[in-house]
Symmetry: C2
Subunit: 140 residues, 2 copies
Amino acid sequence: MDVETRAQSFETALRRAGVRITRQRAALLRVLAAAEDHPDANQLHTRATEAGAGVSLATVYRTLTALEAQGVIVKLEFEGESARFEPADGLHHDHMIDVETGEVTEFMSERIERLQAEIAAELGFEIVRHRLELYVRRRK
Amino acid sequence: MDVETRAQSFETALRRAGVRITRQRAALLRVLAAAEDHPDANQLHTRATEAGAGVSLATVYRTLTALEAQGVIVKLEFEGESARFEPADGLHHDHMIDVETGEVTEFMSERIERLQAEIAAELGFEIVRHRLELYVRRRK
DNA sequence: TTGGTTGCAAATTCTTTGCAAAGCT
DNA sequence: AGCTTTGCAAAGAATTTGCAACCAA
């Protein structure tokens, strides 16, 4: 799915929820749709600005909050950093962060997911959401 | 292990690392040793104050930083909350947070730990540390 | 003695918010 | 038109830090 198509699908999801698509939001959706990394609010603000769209940082934050509420993006909070965001592509995954380079790798394990659910169930709970982050280092 | 004994072992660990045990630190160590829950800096400050020890919030933060560096306590950062701390009792464990009550339950799964290591290894990494939090709800 | 430690207030960092002007639909 | 959204600057919340006075070892 190319950037424009993805941005369009984000817009559709938002309109369906009654969220207005302003010039600022359209710009942010494109920046988000194009993000290969996991940018924070500041980076998104910079990128939107560089793309020629005037957007205030306050609006970036407000829009991110709205997008997260609609399930269009996911907020990530790694240790010692400001919040980062990634487009929600449907499939859940967890993150591995290289403590030396900062590089982020996504991964997903059905087995871990299942074990988590089992553990919660044993204690009488069901999982609402979870957070799994592996802080790693390249092996020599 | 009772509170006093545990506080003493904390002190010993700190002295061994060349950290001075001031009146303020001794008071905080006792508060931490007695904590059954997972208090944040503010709560620790309040408890130390109620216990009759004059400690400033800045010192609480500075001391917590030192204790964490010595591996005596562990810092927890749950979603949407300020940092909490728990005494490090040697054995690693993860946390389950009831999103309705805020209740925190500790758990540990050798199988999940092993799977995490395997996944990291497959991608050429070794785990430095990790963070696993399950946000749960009581089952009806 | 003396280098680590404290308290206080000011500074930081990230994020949120009040309000009047402006913009979607 | 009507209700949402924006920008700006101010407010917040959590945590850190500069500096002079203080105190463990």
